[in-house]
Symmetry: C2
Subunit: 255 residues, 2 copies
């Protein structure tokens, strides 16, 4: 999967190569995503998605804090910290994590259970933890490049939000409030990260590393949907200790 | 999944609790394992298993080296280093990794491709890397406890080896040589690790941590088979960049 790092690409060529990775590997192509936005999942399957993706959301500020710690200067940190503010919110503005909890509330999951992380799929945990470890252990350039999946999210969010509102009676606009601001935030964040990568990947090897980092991040998103599909759609083998439909309903048992 | 750590168990109770975790969560219960040993996989599916599990095998000495670095004394290191010798071999004796390569050779996979790690499932990589990170980051007691799945491997190896030899024309005794010594080694290693854990888990909290470490490791093994099942059995959605049947046949293209 690693490109032959033999030729330095122009800025435009590298950007085109990164967009091509998104076009062929971003999780908008995953069958679970299609089922979700076409209204072909049942409530329990949407609950499973919301529950598992909470763990991803909850770790976004963690990975961003590791990047923040490594940026090495005031200007860059001022730029990057906005991501953490967006996710963690403030006294006056709900953050992305709180809005995601509104989503899990909206689909009827017990809040304490969701926040505990119990019942998520091991595949979710391993993929998300791999992302956090990646930004700690790889070069700063690779850590920043791994955020470039946001280049591809604005369109997907629109399609998904419209599809979910149209098809699911248990989903309201308020339930999906998380996604309202994400397209604008994602565009701002990914414009910055793309510019950083195009600027700082000055050797063929670094360009290849940037591309690999984006492929890696596509795998992080893809593997989460693989695990959901396998456990809750087809063949439907739920691993030991993972959430089962009917468990942790809001107001019910939280085990 | 975390036990309520409210009561100190006796040595016998803790051992029984650990064996119960294996009885209900070890990957001998996974449907992929059943298909494999009952001869119900085709050659490409067995190749996928051998290819992906190579990545696990190749990382065993890595995780053992991290444990070795943390043991803090000559006696313990003398004991634990044997695991690394077993996997890495010597000038006169083939190690486990070399024997696993004999297995991937035996099922017709290109050796350089297998060793490159290209084409393995993201689910495999994330699960195995999670294991390596676990032994680095958790307490030494938890790191050692995570090896306790070997308590349950000797029986499984016998069933699997007999089943594979009986059912697959492309599998020979030599191909499965990896498994010849594993039951004896696994018993020796897990006897030691079990004794260490029973001795050093002296609070209810530590006992709960030991049990959680074993559950975690069961998930590491289970999630690898989930990923294989999903990609190569049912529904059979192979993720982007993962190996596809027919690729990297020995003597063929290695892409």
């Amino acid at each position: 999967m690693r490109e032959t790092a033999d030729r330095l690409m122009s800025r435009e060529e590298l950007e085109a190569a990164l967009r091509e990775i998104g076009a062929t590997r971003y999780h908008h192509l995953h069958p679970f995503q299609t089922l979700l936005q076409d209204g072909r999942l049942n409530r329990a399957q949407v609950q499973a998605w919301a529950l598992n993706r909470y763990y991803y959301q909850a770790n976004i500020p963690v990975k961003d804090a590791y990047i923040l710690a490594r940026l090495g200067g005031v200007e860059l940190r001022r730029e990057w910290r906005q991501r953490i503010l967006d996710h963690d919110g403030s006294d006056t503005e709900r953050g992305g994590i709180e809005k995601w909890i509104a989503l899990t509330d909206g689909v009827g999951l017990d809040r304490a259970f969701v926040e505990s992380g119990h019942g998520i799929l091991a595949g979710t945990r391993f993929a998300v933890d791999a992302y956090v470890h990646f930004v700690r252990e790889r070069s700063l350039l690779e850590a920043i490049a791994s955020s470039l999946t946001e280049l591809f999210s604005p369109n997907v969010i629109g399609v998904r939000t419209r599809g979910m509102l149209a098809h699911y009676t248990f989903i309201s606009k308020e339930t999906l409030a998380y996604f309202d601001k994400r397209p604008v935030q994602a565009k701002r964040d990914s414009d910055f990260a793309l510019d950083y990568c195009l600027e700082h990947a000055t050797t063929a090897k670094e360009q290849a590393a940037v591309m690999d980092a984006l492929r890696f991040k596509c795998q992080v998103l893809w593997a989460q949907l693989d695990a959901l599909y396998y456990a809750y759609v087809e063949p439907g083998f739920i691993p030991p200790d993972a959430w089962r439909p009917g468990e942790a309903e809001a107001g019910g048992e939280t085990r």
